[in-house]
């Protein structure tokens, strides 16, 4: 008999998400009837703070790991990481959007941001295909509305429509993959699916499935990867990004470039965890053993195309869109190399990817936040040379922008450098054995990926240098009257600046590098701890039936 979580435990564990969700719903419900000038931003910031406190008060190990195969949420290192990260993000976005509530009565904006963040957090803790899909949709649907609300007049409709159709399409792909997986395995529990994928022997009772099971799994996995590829703007699903970014404000760009990326990578790690975990899973993962080749190709192509197309742009939003595409490529490199690394050496691939995600978030968010401050109605900033004169007119903001750009280039003593360093260190240190030509081939293959990554980093520096030269080296065309009054979005900018620098000098102050190890899969950490995980009877029944 397999136990299940009590409803009280569920509620206690999910309390932060529940608080956020209900607060957002209340705001949507009563927003239209409340008088103007209600401090919605303050309310939602307090909501985030409350959620964060609740998260901190959660006891570690609140969920019994032996229930892994029967419950639809879980607690492991990556879920904790994603939860903390997304709640922090939410607070940052509240501060960034703060001024919206002074001009218009936009309770929707803040409610939708809260939905978004809840979705991101749910993706992190999901252990079930349905819950995962719910989380992803909770991110997508508010994004459509936000895109329309925050669009620039003439382009808003186009960019919102573009995003809407492509996003719906990608959700459809994900759903197709999920239903296919359910059809094969007979359960929607992700841990159980991973377990089934790892232990191909389960399919032996039915002889005709045995040979083709690997191939059969390939179809849903590719569909899911394609759908999630849209979320992380991976080539060849990147086409929407520049157009959509161009049609919206810098605030929204910051949101688009970060939240869906964090959620997308969390989902990839969750679903492909069985193939990415490093050699410590019970039973070897015969199915999709060579998935790393696919990730290798996607990573190389994504970073190269992002960099090259970024060189050709003039519009700042488009430049940064391509930059975000190429950074997805670097993150994918960490995911590609993960299954080939040993646990013992340094950071593992997934850990390096998450570290990159952190460094990328603070760099990109910082850039968009600064641009958002500089972008005014009287003097909009469209092309990179619209930034002319910023360096002398607002020196402090310009320094912040420069530091964020240097971080994205990967200059030492910024987070971006260490992020690239960890990724490439992983790629280069793929171990090999002496008498095995295949392992040496893999070693060389990943060394090549390291070379490609650094080539792209060197060429890509030109993109950011152009922005920098816009800031500092172009004379101002006309004087800019800059409103120096205090803005709430200065808080996240300063925080980003400090975090980017500390991440590059002593990252242990912010994130314990040890918790970035072994994040690939919960089964991994649980089985290492020696706990026997009983499987629910109905899963076995379904599997045998096949």
């Amino acid at each position: 008999m397999i136990g299940s979580l009590l409803i009280v435990d569920y509620i206690q564990y999910m309390m932060p998400e529940i608080v956020l969700f209900s607060l957002a719903s209340l705001m949507l419900l009563f927003g239209p009837f409340v008088k103007k000038n209600t401090p919605w931003a303050l309310i939602s910031s307090l909501g985030f703070l409350l959620a964060y406190l609740l998260l901190l008060s959660n006891k570690h190990g609140a969920i019994d790991p032996s229930l892994l195969f029967s419950i639809n949420i879980l607690e492991d290192m990556s879920s904790n990481f994603i939860r903390h990260f997304s709640l922090g993000m939410g607070l940052f976005f509240c501060l960034l959007f703060w001024r919206d509530c002074q001009t218009e009565n936009t309770f929707e904006t803040f409610a939708l941001i809260m939905f978004l963040v809840t979705g991101c957090s749910i993706v992190g803790i999901s252990n079930d295909l349905i819950v995962l899909f719910l989380g992803l949709e909770l991110i997508s649907i508010p994004t459509y509305v936000l895109l329309y609300l925050h669009g620039k007049k003439d382009l808003a409709a186009e960019s919102a429509m573009k995003y809407f159709f492509l996003s719906i399409f990608s959700s459809g792909l994900v759903l197709l993959g999920f239903s296919y997986l359910y059809g094969i395995v007979g359960t929607t529990n992700i841990s159980a699916i991973s377990d089934a994928l790892c232990n191909g022997y389960r399919f032996k009772p039915s002889a005709d499935l045995d040979n083709s099971s690997g191939l059969l799994f390939l179809i849903p996995m590719l569909a899911i990867l394609a759908g999630l590829g849209f979320k992380i703007s991976m080539v060849p699903f990147h086409f929407y990004a520049p157009d959509v970014y161009q049609g919206t404000t810098y605030r929204m760009c910051a949101l688009l470039a970060t939240v869906s990326k964090v959620a997308g990578f969390a989902a990839i790690v969750r679903i492909f965890g069985f193939a990415l975990a490093q050699g410590a899973l019970p039973g070897s993962s015969k199915t999709l053993d060579n998935i790393y080749v696919l990730f290798w190709i996607l990573s190389a192509v994504t970073m190269t195309i992002g960099t090259i197309l970024g060189l050709l742009q003039r519009n700042l939003r488009r430049i940064l869109a391509y930059s975000s595409i190429s950074h997805s490529g670097y993150i994918l490199a960490g995911i590609a190399v993960a299954p080939k690394l040993e646990l013992a050496t340094g950071l593992d691939g997934i850990g390096a990817s998450f570290f990159y995600l952190i460094a990328y978030f603070f760099g990109t968010f910082g850039i968009f936040a600064v641009l958002d401050v500089l972008d005014t109605k009287e003097k909009p900033i469209e092309d990179w040379d619209d930034l002319a004169g910023i360096g002398s007119q607002t020196p402090l903001l310009a320094i912040c922008l420069a530091v964020f750009l240097f971080s994205l280039i990967g200059i030492p003593f910024t987070g971006g450098f260490l992020a690239k360093f960890f990724i490439v260190f992983g790629c280069v240190s793929v171990p090999y054995t002496w008498d095995d030509a295949l392992s040496k081939g893999t070693h060389n293959l990943f060394f090549l990926l390291g070379i490609i990554a650094f080539l792209n980093a060197a060429v890509g520096s030109w993109i950011y240098l152009r922005i920098l030269s816009g800031i500092y080296f172009k004379p101002a065309i006309w004087p800019r009257v800059f409103n120096t009054s205090f803005r709430p979005s200065y808080f996240p900018i300063i925080a980003c600046l400090l975090i980017v620098l500390v991440l590059g000098i002593k990252p242990n102050l912010i994130i314990n590098l040890n918790i970035l190890k072994g994040m690939a899969h919960p089964v991994n950490s649980v089985s290492l701890s020696g706990v026997e995980i009983p499987k629910p009877a109905e899963i076995d029944v379904v599997l045998k039936r096949q």
């Binding site: 002398s392 280039i409 260190f425 060197a458 080296f473």
Partner: protein, 581 residues
């Protein structure tokens, strides 16, 4: 005492940050404050040299037992920056990137050189930087910080970090205060050097991770380390150990024992793999330093950057930052990977050096502008540094080190003079500046002195370094005849050097006076007190180093001896290429 080293690093950082934020105080205060910081640092560096010279001499008693670079105990500051593995017993360096700085013979003299030239650079641009001068001087101080950091580092990643950090102040300095084409020049420099630096980083990572895999034993992994001394030991042990294993197995071959035979095959495979991966790693490592130096195929950023940069920055670029490239070879490339250094040394790197020497000299002859000519002359003289390093014997390595110091002093002084002329006349073209000797007597005298230093007149400092580099190459046992041929051809470089430098002196300082019609200042004056303050003491130093370089040679001997010895041991025990014959 280690506080002094730390202070040397922190004073320019603090100074830079303070100066950067002096927005409203005007250029006079900014330059005075910056000069104060530079002089303070110069004082610290001289004190450091004074303190450590005797210690280093005592230190060198155990030259022969030394198997790796060991910084002076009293000078070391070390703590963890990024730790991703728990430390092992007796190996605090395992699994962490550490802040590890110290002083040994190899970097001791580069520190005062850096401080002298940076102080000189401020004096050179004393009157010419008026706009945003707080930013200029702040960035100069930050540039000094990162340069000194790179010289002091004993951790590869820390070295790389400082090495790459020099780019940011340089980018701004050139792009904001340079000549008409400055932005292009600055961005070109940035992208070239960043690309080269990333290749170096890839080489470093490749080396660290391949030394992590134990080549001698399948069962255990060696600890990950980023400390340069430990990496040298590990690399050396691996090479010697593999050589020995193959050698021992070969000796037993007659037994026809199948087990032994497969063992031999395995070890040979390991040796081959290690040799080939070493070669790639060496090329990657060297790329960044070749770009920074710059050496022949990677030099195209140099003419634009040197010419467009404000002369104070050109002085530092040629005098100090180019030395970072040569220093990288001495500190990392050659001692870490002696076998490829030997194999590629003659055929690739000395030929590159030869091309740089001759091509640079030929270009210098063709120039019609003082600053451009000095740029190519610097390119040519730095070729000697590279040549000396890849002679791979003590004479060549010592010569290369002396050339680093001496070229720094000479080229610094020459660019200083160039800045004096360009500030007074607004031009450095030869056709506008002729026969200045009749008007600016002291300036002409001192210029002729520095030109002679740079030409390599015996008795002056330029001579010692270049001649020792050439001698080293002559002595080099590295395919016997090739070394001699290359050295003979390179000695032509000294002749060409004399040609273009002396004909420059003839044009600019002798003959009939011809000044540009439009001068920047109405009455052109001779050297000011401040300029004398830089040029005369430096001249004494040049003379001293030319006549009596022995103390310096003695101090760096342990390190130079070590580099040469590592090469000899790795290559002479059992040359890898000759195994199969």
């Amino acid at each position: 005492m280690s506080q002094l080293v730390l202070l040397l690093l922190l004073v320019p950082l603090a100074g830079g940050l303070v100066t950067l934020f002096l927005r409203n105080s005007g250029y006079e205060f900014a330059r005075k404050l910056a000069l104060g910081f530079f002089l303070l640092n110069l004082f610290i560096s001289l004190k450091l040299t004074w303190d450590y010279l005797p210690l280093l001499e005592k230190h060198s008693v155990s030259v022969d037992e030394k198997l790796t670079f060991v910084p002076l105990n009293v000078s070391v500051t070390v703590f963890d920056l990024i730790r991703f593995q728990a430390p092992q017993e007796g190996r605090p360096d395992a699994g962490a990137i550490r802040f590890f700085i110290g002083v040994d013979g190899l970097n001791l003299f580069l520190l005062p050189l850096t401080c002298i030239l940076f102080a000189g650079s401020v004096l050179a641009t004393w009157n010419s930087i008026r706009e945003k001068s707080h930013l200029y001087y702040g960035l100069m101080l930050l540039l000094q910080f990162s340069t000194i950091g790179a010289f002091l580092s004993f951790d590869v990643i820390l070295f790389y970090a400082f090495f790459e950090l020099t780019l940011i102040p340089l980018l701004f300095l050139i792009a904001m205060w340079g000549g008409p084409n400055r932005q292009y020049a600055a961005k070109k420099l940035f992208v070239y050097t960043l690309g080269g630096g990333l290749a170096t980083l890839l080489g470093i990572i490749g080396l660290v991770s391949s030394l992590n895999q134990n080549h001698l034993d399948d069962n255990t992994d060696l600890p990950i380390t980023f400390s340069i001394p430990e990496l040298i030991t590990a690399s050396h042990d691996t090479q010697i150990g593999l050589n020995k294993k193959v050698y021992d197995a070969k000796a037993d071959k007659d037994l026809l024992n199948p087990l032994l035979k497969s063992n031999l095959e395995l070890n040979k495979a390991r040796l081959d793999y290690w040799a080939s991966s070493q070669k790639w790693i060496f090329l990657l490592l060297a790329t960044g330093f070749l770009v920074k130096l710059p050496a022949f195929p990677f030099h195209t950023w140099q003419p634009t950057a040197y010419y467009e940069a404000p002369t104070g920055v050109t002085l530092v670029l040629g005098g100090i930052l180019a030395k970072l490239g040569a220093y990288g070879f001495l500190r990392l490339c050659v001692p870490l990977l002696p076998v490829p250094a030997w194999e590629l040394g003659t055929y690739l790197f000395s030929v590159l050096a030869m091309i740089a020497i001759l091509y640079g000299a030929a270009c210098a002859i063709a120039q019609d502008d003082l600053k451009r000519m000095l740029t190519y002359s610097s390119f040519s003289h730095l070729g000697f540094c590279l040549l000396g390093i890849f002679a791979l014997n003590e004479t060549g390595l010592t010569g290369s080190y002396l050339q680093m110091i001496n070229h720094g002093l000479n080229v610094g002084a020459l660019f200083f003079i160039c800045e004096i002329l360009s500030h007074r006349y607004g031009t450095t073209k030869f056709k506008d500046l002729q026969g200045l000797g009749s008007k600016l007597k002291i300036l002409s005298g001192i210029s002729v002195f520095y030109v002679m230093c740079s030409v390599g007149l015996p008795g002056l400092n330029g001579f010692v370094g270049e001649v020792m580099c050439l001698f080293g190459m002559f002595e080099s046992k590295n395919p016997n005849i090739a070394g001699k041929v290359i050295a003979s051809i390179c000695s032509l470089g000294m002749v060409f050097g004399a040609w273009y430098l002396i004909s420059m002196v003839m044009k600019v300082f002798f003959g009939k006076l011809a000044e540009p019609v439009f001068k920047k200042e109405d009455s052109v004056s001779d050297l000011t007190l401040m300029e004398k303050f830089f040029l005369f003491p430096l001249a004494v130093l040049c003379l001293f180093l030319g006549i009596y370089p022995q103390p310096m040679i003695d101090t760096i001997r342990p390190e130079i001896h070590l580099i040469a010895k590592l090469n000899l041991q790795a290559n002479n025990l059992l040359p890898v290429g000759k195994l199969d014959k």
